[in-house]
């Protein structure tokens, strides 16, 4: 099943997994750090791939949500992977 990992940058430059968001049916389920999960669930992320529509994506948007995570988390300190598959 498709999933995305969100990595947190540590002081020594290594990364640890802060959250994993996985497609479950048509929707996404995220596991990991409480506050981060709450933010993703409650506030969503921007739809970067259809920027002209200015939409916010939520877990219920499924694979589109997963695809856009890497655009939302690209600062270096928090980074989202490409979609991976189990």
């Amino acid at each position: 099943m498709p999933y995305v990992e969100i990595y947190k940058l540590k002081n020594d430059g290594s990364q640890e997994v802060a959250a994993t968001c996985r497609l479950s049916g048509q929707s996404v389920v995220c596991e990991g750090e409480g506050a981060l999960i709450s933010r993703l669930s409650g506030e969503g992320i921007k739809d970067y791939e259809h920027s002209e529509e200015h939409k916010t994506l939520f877990l219920s948007d499924g694979i589109v949500f997963l695809k856009n995570l890497k655009h939302a988390f690209r600062s270096g300190y928090l980074m989202a992977s490409d979609i991976k598959n189990d």
Partner: protein
């Protein structure tokens, strides 16, 4: 005749006299003396943090940071500095830092342009032990005074530089301080758009700055108003910033940024706040 503007207003302090906040953030300039404000030319003096990043030579650690849409690199140097290096979009990272510093907002970590491993890009000072705001339960109600001040400064910076992608994923918090990072979606050519032109809304005020932490119709702190007023009344400051932005981004994005800056400074000077009506401004 070139006047070294920042030598006048930045007096080197011994490290022991700087607060921890000042030591970790961009150096805060001293109050300007009146002689400097009317000079047409000024030259830029890098801060000590910038000098440290520029002079860091021997790499002690290198790690590609996985994820995102490009591959930034984490570097640690033998002189004790560490930073995040970007070889894509680096012009905007440097430009955002310059705007932040020259306006005295000081919310972007020190960022320089240099070569690392024969590749040109931006190297931004790493902030250790910081959390992304996305990892916290930080909300408008729970902010300390200092955090609120920082978020207000970040919001104003975003309006000046036309940042259409500010969110919890590119705000860092460490203690009482909040930092702005990742400015890849800033400095577009356009200015404000009125309702009829809102088709191309990537450049509208609605999308600049954080949706959650915004300060329309709220009193802006006096020190910040003074910074904008002072900057806008200084030909040397304006020419300096515009020239540096042009070098990085080209004429149109620089001109748009300066026009927004003028507009914001005028509104702050007159009303002490930015009314939501400024969203309809046209130029």
């Amino acid at each position: 005749m070139k006047f070294n503007f920042f030598e006048k207003i930045i007096t080197p302090k011994s490290p022991g006299s700087l607060s921890e906040k000042e030591q970790e953030r961009a150096f805060v300039p001293e109050e300007q003396n009146d002689l400097s404000v009317n000079l047409p030319e000024a030259s830029y003096v890098p801060s000590r943090e910038e000098e440290a990043l520029l002079s860091a030579e021997k790499i002690s650690l290198r790690k590609t940071i996985e994820g995102g849409t490009y591959d930034p690199v984490f570097f640690q140097f033998e002189n004790g500095e560490s930073g995040i290096f970007k070889s894509w979009g680096w012009q905007k990272e440097r430009a955002a830092y310059l705007a932040s510093r020259l306006l005295g907002l000081d919310v972007v970590p020190p960022t320089v342009i240099r070569e690392v491993e024969a590749e040109e890009g931006s190297l931004q000072k790493f902030i250790p032990d910081a959390s992304g705001v996305a990892e916290t339960s930080l909300s408008l109600e729970g902010l300390s005074e200092s955090q609120q001040e920082d978020l207000m400064r970040i919001w104003l910076l975003d309006l000046v530089i036309g940042n259409i992608d500010r969110h919890d994923g590119n705000l860092l918090v460490k203690g009482d301080n909040v930092y702005a990072i990742d400015h890849g979606e800033s400095f577009y050519k356009s200015g404000f758009y009125n309702a009829e032109e809102i088709k191309d809304t990537w450049n509208s005020w609605e999308l600049c700055g954080s949706v959650k932490f915004r300060f329309f119709d709220k009193k802006i702190s006096q020190p910040v108003i003074q910074k904008f007023t002072r900057f806008n009344s200084s030909p040397g400051s304006k020419n300096l910033l515009q020239g540096m932005l042009e070098d990085l981004l080209g004429k149109d994005p620089a001109a748009s940024c300066m026009a927004r800056l003028e507009r914001i400074g005028a509104a702050l000077g007159k009303e002490g706040m930015l009314s939501a009506k400024i969203k309809k401004a046209k130029f």
